[in-house]
Assembly symmetry: C2
Homo-oligomer: 332 residues x 2
């Protein structure tokens, strides 16, 4: 390892080169008693109800303003667990390395992944490494297990008529940051890539009646609202003027002809809460590190089950469908 600076096919052999790589790059960063045992599977304490999910990360570039594929790989999976009201506990990481991948870059990404896991309060308890031909790229898959408290029932099918719709902050930041970076456009837009454990924990601890939570990723808020409207058979009605959007992102979108409603975040959620709890929920979100720009953006109605629309700033009404076509590929 000392002389080599790049990943070679030998690192995927399952023999000495693989175990050296695992020891020197991965085990060092993720060290914990369960992982260090290097068993075929981690055996860990369980819970009566668990949440289980997975996500693969193929973002390009691997490092971007505000984050990198390592941080993203933790946030994506941890946030999916949180969206079911679960307390994230364990992660597995599958690394697929392309031949030629720079070892220092890999080391930075692994360190970032480990730091984000610590921030999110999860332990990486099992992993896997494979090597494929290519040009120095990297794909990471994470799977996560969380414990679900007995009384929690948060689900996509649980949005209720009368619920108030909140978002936890600025829309489209991650998407705009990736796109800016790829196009070589100079601005200071950063990805919002972050774990949302603090805000979900705070909402539940305060006894807010949360009916549904979803993180806003690929497809954007528009796609999320349409999908949830269908799952819960309700109507989502939001107000364009209430949507929190960073000024720089808004300008960037205007310039590029992009719609913030269909741009992905990686550290924002939309929450559906009982109307009496809405103001308190907004206060709680605003008090969180990653929730400064939280806002109430609309309500759930029974006008036309399965539909979503936005009342535009100039007084129109625009129906929201799921994103159609390409969007921005390899955003996460």
């Amino acid at each position: 390892m000392k002389q080599e600076k790049k990943i070679t096919m030998a690192h995927g052999s399952g023999g000495r080169a693989t175990s050296d790589l695992i020891r020197e790059i991965f085990a060092r960063e993720f060290t914990n008693p369960v992982l260090d045992a290097m068993e075929d599977a981690a055996v860990v304490p369980g819970s009566g109800k668990i949440a289980f999910t997975t996500d693969s990360f193929v973002v390009e570039p691997l490092e971007f303003p505000g984050g990198d594929i390592g941080r993203l790989s933790v946030c994506g999976t941890v946030n999916d667990l949180l969206m079911r009201g679960a307390v994230p506990k364990y992660l597995t990481c599958g690394f697929v390395l392309q031949e030629g991948l720079d070892l220092e870059l890999l080391q930075r990404i692994v360190a970032s992944l480990a730091a984000t896991a610590r921030e999110a309060g999860v332990a990486v308890v099992a992993g896997d490494t494979k090597v494929v031909e290519g040009n120095g790229g990297l794909i990471i898959n994470t799977a996560g297990v969380g414990f679900v408290p007995e009384n929690v029932c948060i689900s996509a099918a649980n949005c209720q008529v009368g619920d108030v719709i909140l978002v936890s902050g600025h829309l489209g930041d991650h998407h705009a940051a990736i796109l800016s970076r790829r196009m070589g456009i100079y601005n200071t837009i950063e990805s919002d890539c972050a774990p949302l454990g603090e805000m979900v924990g705070a909402l539940l601890e305060a006894g807010i009646r949360v009916h549904c939570l979803r993180d806003i990723t690929r497809g954007g808020l528009g796609t999320v609202l349409k999908e949830l409207a269908e799952a819960s058979q309700v109507t989502m009605a939001i107000e364009e003027e209430f949507l929190p959007i960073d000024a720089q992102v808004r300008d960037f979108c205007g310039l590029m002809g992009l719609d913030p409603l269909y741009m992905g975040n990686e550290g924002k959620l939309v929450a559906f809460v009982a109307p009496e709890d809405a103001d308190r929920a907004c206060e709680i979100l605003s008090g969180c590190v990653y929730g400064k720009h939280a806002a109430v953006i609309g309500t759930v109605t029974d006008e036309e089950p399965g539909s979503a629309y936005v009342n535009t700033a100039i007084g129109g009404k625009r129906v929201l469908d799921v994103l159609f076509g390409e969007g921005l590929p390899r955003i996460c």
Copy 2:
């Protein structure tokens, strides 16, 4: 989807093309109430002690004699759970599709994955799909959760001096099948790719004192024995003449200059059991669908902690180290 026959970048957008793909290819095959809810994470019943693991699959070709990447993706992860004495319960699947991937091929692979999951008794409860540039390839990551019975303690560090070492069948079949197929060599060698739940369940139910189990994959039996010798601080002593190897695989290895001790399987395990239970364990393994050629191959001694060796057929003694160098890449 009807007109298109190939994966395009739009299938990775997170919008309509993605959800059509998920519905038409994945959801149909994996259908179960938990997955069908299409939530951010699956919420499922848990257990006091759980096993958790992951594996990524990058095998080429995607279909090979005796299996395909779909079947492999279930077997690899389920077998890792079984090696801790866990009962496999849930799987997640992360698909990374390369642009240009043939949709009919994908459909066959997904169907095979689903059929193998049914065979192994696990439910696919969450999934993810991404699309990257490329030449029609496919990478699958699976993560698995199993329940660990309270009294089970099977671990790489638990091999004991005096234990008898058994393997569950022919060595090297998967490796030889993949290599034959890649080189265009005509033979009838098939991958042994299989879930090992029947044999692990049968051993534990019969009360066999199983101290350690490991599936023989990348790196082969030689690498496994050396790693376990280090983890348990014992010596592994095996007899070359006892190693079960299929005649055709043996001929193939001779021809190619390959060593079956360093060739991977995908449906074989090595078991370390108390000496009094060894004969019964061998009988039980032999009675299982995937264990017909099970054999006792050696014993655990205290000669030199951390080492492994094989007594050769011609009376020599050969020290076993882990595989060094490339091996055969993209074997699983």
